[in-house]
Point group: C2
Chain length 308, copies 2
């Protein structure tokens, strides 16, 4: 498994330059979102400016990248999964806007910039979230269907992953856990809902957009679930090991809010070991693709080694 430095310079085993790959994906997704959403000047401009403010606030486009990479791993072209990738990014962005609200996590900064409600006010921020959530389905409904997967299945996939028993369930359980002592199983449930569900959905939608086989879909599910859980545990770890400056958002918030986290519950070394173990399982799932999943592999490595 190559380290961060080697990756940035190009992964010699597969010939993939992850930095370049992510740049290409960002450009593709930025343009896709620009084309698929109403213009910033569309009436009423306030809401469209607010939607775009958070969409273009420096997100790493990790979910869209995983979505497009999954399509490629299944033999498809990136373009096949662009609608799905943009839809997932709209859901992710809406969930951040709503999570940052004073009634939720009450965050003033996100990725080093003022949060949506600090710029546009709470009312517009709630509506911008609603609008991005709605736009996700408008965009996904435009995705080309494939022989194995219909629009119906794509829409249900996204609705389930972002619904009251997954993404939203995670935020509810998170709110309810604040300041309380919860068992590790409940923390795992929160992480699965808040992070794994949508990451898993991103790679599944990518595969479905490329007309993947049922076996490929299962492999992507295993991959997405494990990477998602690892990703969130690393988020917990970074909150205690990094400064606000390094993260581009308030560090140490979890500790300050006495939030349940893996490091707080099982300690740092064990948390890191669990994250590595989950990533190993994710890599094992990629064997299904017989070397065609270079981008997914590089991204899983990157997500485990990231420092912000």
């Amino acid at each position: 498994m190559p380290g961060n430095k080697k990756q940035n310079a190009g992964d010699h085993k597969t010939g993939l330059d992850l930095g370049q790959y992510l740049q290409q994906v960002c450009r593709l997704v930025d343009r896709g979102l620009d084309r698929l959403l109403p213009r910033a000047t569309a009436k009423p401009p306030t809401i469209h400016r607010a939607m775009r403010y958070s969409l273009y606030a420096g997100g790493k486009r990790m979910r869209p990248a995983l979505c497009l990479a999954a399509a490629e791993a299944c033999g498809g072209a990136r373009q096949d999964a662009l609608h799905a990738a943009c839809a997932v990014e709209c859901i992710h962005t809406y969930s951040l806007i709503h999570d940052d609200l004073p009634a939720m996590d009450n965050d003033d900064f996100r990725r080093g910039k003022p949060t949506n409600h600090k710029v546009f006010g709470e009312g517009i921020a709630i509506l911008a979230g609603d609008a991005l959530l709605t736009a996700a389905f408008a965009i996904l409904a435009q995705a080309p269907a494939t022989a194995r997967y219909s629009t119906r299945e794509l829409v249900q996939e996204l609705a389930q992953a972002s619904g009251s028993q997954k993404l939203i369930a995670g935020q509810v359980a998170d709110l309810e856990a604040e300041g309380k002592s919860i068992p590790l199983a409940q923390l795992k449930y929160i992480h699965e809902c808040k992070t794994s569900a949508l990451l898993c959905c991103a790679v599944r939608l990518g595969g479905m957009s490329a007309n993947c086989t049922p076996a490929q879909l299962q492999a992507l599910t295993d991959f997405g679930y494990n990477v998602g859980l690892a990703f969130q545990i690393i988020d917990d770890i970074l909150d205690v090991t990094q400064t606000s400056e390094q993260l581009g958002k308030t560090a140490g918030k979890d500790v300050a809010a006495r939030k349940a986290t893996y490091p707080a519950m099982v300690g740092l070394p064990k948390s890191q070991a669990i994250a590595r173990q989950l990533t190993d399982r994710a890599f094992a799932a990629l064997r299904q693709f017989k070397g065609q999943a270079a981008a997914l592999e590089a991204m899983a490595t990157y997500l485990l080694k990231r420092d912000k």
Copy 2:
């Protein structure tokens, strides 16, 4: 056109008993929502209780009724449009929960009961709205497709009507108009977005669920647009002519908030005349259905004559 009393006793011209019809629709939609949404006890129960609290808070099910009636006017069965009707009711309910929030209209009561955030807190109320919005698409994606209309078209229809250029645009423009003097054209735009768009979508989805012809779809569009605008103007009128007790919600709020309304802008008699004119246009659109649109006709009459 029969008066309210005659309608309740049965419309002799068509044999339709509107009271009975609405009761049947309510039962059908109540059961449909119960079946199509996660159980109240599903994990985490808080969010599912909050969703159901507002869904079953005594709404008149006017949009679902219009949706099912539109399907029948096009020769379909009520059952054909049940998914669409339930999806529209989820959207309507989510928009009420979010509109009632302190950051928006700050309403403590709705239909005589405490609003969602008064019962569950702001965080859960925001998430319950998000969950209902998401559930609307999960439900609609399960609707049976027809020869003329695919799942894709149904989803796009709902996403457009409830998106940033219609339903959400209305709430944004409404927020921005508060305490300001706006021209009548802007007030009409707000009403079109806030009310007409979703009512129009309800009847269009009903027609589409019954595989309506393009001519029928156009007639339903004209009908829905005009009834929706009339409905909202009557809401404005009732706010100044009725007491809180009669309405089951705070009366006189528009005046207190110095909100732009038709009565405030053009006076009561002219507002009533405009509402009547819009309803006449709605009736004219129904000629297309050659007497098969008894329920739509009865409902339009009812909406114009209602006193709460």
